[in-house]
């Protein structure tokens, strides 16, 4: 029977806080996978998104990536794992396919966040920047990227939640991290452990989201966010998990923009 008391007992049991299966280790693993995945995905998605947004060429890359989000994450995880695992020996056989899938899932929100951020830059500002003699690189780094920050950060938030959620599921293909509590608990019928793990995962996701929301405060110019300046909110570009209405309408003609909690 699951009660508050049984779950509390799990959390207060020192045994659950030690060793390879302890909460700190699992939490760190989860963070490590999330961090590695996001780093790789950022390196791939941001330059491509920036380039597509800046040049207006090859938009199908973004639409294509968005359409690919309809693929069920669990299926992708299993399929890639079955394809890739045999190529590796040792524990890499589990981590490589998992990270690969996590990267694949993180790319679409980052790509479309970067792209739509840059694409939404006021054409007059871009025109003025070019007119005052900025090179393409200067226009991109001094005008377009700072203005794209809000939409890029929403993309980063979506991607982060997506990765945290999918890394949990990836425990079913033997990845470490907090998902182990859920999957191992299921196998051993230890429902208390499953609930405890679920609480930890949910907390991690919440905290990560809050941290990124805070980051938004520092990384976005008050001139764009309108924060603390009494700026008329007309220009405020908000873009929650699913994207702001305009962006989702625009993108939905091609593909859904929302991130799955997977």
């Amino acid at each position: 029977m699951i009660t508050f008391a049984t779950v509390w007992a799990w959390f207060t049991d020192p045994a659950n806080w030690q060793g390879a299966d302890g909460v700190p280790t699992r939490m760190l693993e989860h963070l490590k996978f999330t961090g590695i995945t996001l780093a790789i995905a950022l390196v791939i998605a941001v330059p491509i998104g920036a380039w597509v947004g800046h040049s207006g060429r090859m938009r199908w890359l973004v639409t294509g990536a968005n359409a690919a989000r309809a693929i069920p994450t669990l299926g992708l995880l299993f399929a890639v794992s079955m394809l890739v695992s045999p190529l590796f020996t040792s524990s890499l056989a589990f981590t490589v396919p998992s990270i690969a899938v996590l990267v694949l899932l993180a790319i679409p929100p980052l790509l479309s966040g970067t792209y739509s951020g840059i694409e939404s830059v006021d054409p007059a500002a871009r025109d003025a920047a070019r007119g005052m003699g900025m090179s393409d690189w200067e226009v991109l780094t001094r005008v377009e990227l700072p203005c794209a920050m809000p939409l890029f950060l929403s993309g980063l938030r979506s991607a982060t939640l997506q990765v945290i959620a999918t890394a949990t599921i990836a425990a079913s293909i033997s990845l470490g991290g907090l998902g182990r509590y859920l999957i191992d608990g299921l196998a051993s019928q230890d429902y208390v452990q499953m609930v405890a793990g679920s609480i930890l995962v949910a907390l991690l996701a919440l905290v990560a989201d809050l941290v990124l929301a805070l980051l938004e405060r520092f990384a976005v110019s008050p001139g764009i966010s309108g924060r603390g300046q009494g700026v008329a909110r007309r220009r405020r570009l908000r873009f929650g998990r699913g994207g702001d209405a305009a962006a989702s309408v625009k993108n939905s003609t091609d593909a859904p923009l929302g991130a799955d909690p997977a």
Binding site: A128, G131, M132, Q229, R234
Partner: protein, 385 residues
């Protein structure tokens, strides 16, 4: 000086064909002057302007600035030497007003402190409150944004300015303010300016010379504003210049020395009996420094002249003003007598419309005679002696 020599711009229309946006366009925009490009929407004004800083490359033809071919100059160098102001200002939303204005000097390597000092100076110069420097563009009104746009374009002190409908997105009252301050600024700075607008009134008001373009990107007429109003070359230009042009042209006709009628005046506080003693239905009220304040209807004064009795509908012409201002002062005055003030703004006398009209007619006469003389002189030359 900006010179266009046979400049043409063609766009592919997407189906293999071509459309001509600017066609064999030649023009000289003299140094230190405002040259206005005006014409209906889609006639190629923006395209013409943007070919100067090579935001658009001409299909053929040459554009030179001070006899240097723009096509041979490095792009960044060319553009940094040209101030560029566009319709919606195009301010950078993530930068404060101050940082917007320092953009080009910073790109050119000016140190931050110097750039900021100069930017503050410019911000005041374009008529903005220095307190606005810390704000972001989204916190400014359209008119203020446009002023920042002008300040930003002036920041590196470029000799040449390109302005594409800079004032057309603001309301008429603000537009007029911006236009007046722009003229004041230009009288101080003396830039070589190419100014695009679709508004003929704006063109006539701001231009030292006005180039009227027709759809298809050809030059229909290049003239001073006065010539343009007085003598449009064809029906297109006449239609574009619009109605009232006879009247509007008078704004370029300086008023000659005129016999003004002196007028008994009253001040605030003058008693009703004194007002009636003037013996006229309308009496002019002046302020402490002799400046005209408005007309008072004698019959309406009970007790003494008060401010709310003043009828302020009439415009005030200046002795140094135009015939248009004189005529308008007469036509807008409830008494039929137009108020004229001297250079210091003191009441100088009144004039009736019936007195202005003969002056206008005499002027037309002399213009016609001068043209006849010029024409016969030409003929004389053409005829072999």
């Amino acid at each position: 000086m900006i010179r266009f020599e046979g400049v043409t711009k063609k766009y592919g229309d997407g189906s293999g064909g071509e459309s001509i946006a600017v066609n064999n366009f030649s023009l000289e925009a003299p140094t230190g002057r405002i040259t206005v490009l005006v014409g209906p929407s889609g006639c190629g004004k923006t395209t013409t302007l943007r070919m100067v800083n090579r935001m658009i490359d001409p299909t053929s033809g040459v554009i030179t600035i001070d006899d240097r071919n723009t096509a041979d100059l490095p792009l960044a160098e060319l553009r940094r030497g040209i101030g560029y102001v566009i319709q919606h200002a195009g301010l950078f939303p993530h930068r404060t007003v101050l940082d917007n204005v320092t953009t080009v000097p910073r790109l050119l390597g000016t140190d931050k402190k110097t750039a900021r000092l100069r930017a503050m100076e410019l911000i005041e110069r374009v008529g903005l409150d220095p307190d606005l420097a810390k704000r972001y563009p989204a916190q400014l009104s359209g008119g203020q944004q446009q002023r920042v746009g002008v300040a930003r374009a002036l920041a590196a002190d470029p000799p040449v300015m390109l302005m594409d409908e800079p004032f057309s997105a603001v309301d008429p009252v603000v537009r007029e303010q911006l236009q007046n301050e722009f003229l004041r600024l230009q009288s101080e700075l003396g830039k070589t300016i190419l100014f695009v607008t679709h508004d003929i009134d704006e063109a006539v008001k701001l231009g030292d010379q006005v180039a009227v373009l027709r759809v298809g990107g050809t030059l229909a007429q290049l003239a001073t504003p006065a010539q343009l109003l007085a003598d449009p070359v064809d029906d297109f230009v006449a239609g574009f210049v619009g109605r009232d042009r006879g009247y509007r042209a008078l704004q370029f006709a300086e008023a000659p020395e005129l016999e003004l009628t002196n007028e008994p005046t009253v001040t605030i506080g003058t008693s009703a009996s004194e007002v009636r003693a003037v013996g006229q239905p309308w009496v002019l009220c002046v302020g402490d420094d002799g400046e005209p304040m408005g007309w008072v209807r004698a019959g309406a004064v009970s007790g003494e002249v008060t401010r709310d009795l003043l009828q302020r509908g009439g415009t005030v012409a200046s002795t140094a003003g135009s015939l248009r201002a004189l005529l308008d002062a007469a036509l807008s005055s409830p008494s039929g007598r137009g108020v004229v003030a001297d250079a210091d703004g003191r009441f100088a006398g009144t004039i009736r419309a019936s007195e202005v009209v003969p002056v206008i007619e005499a002027r037309q006469q002399s213009v016609a005679e001068r043209e006849d003389a010029a024409a016969s002189a030409l003929q004389g030359e053409a005829t072999p002696a």
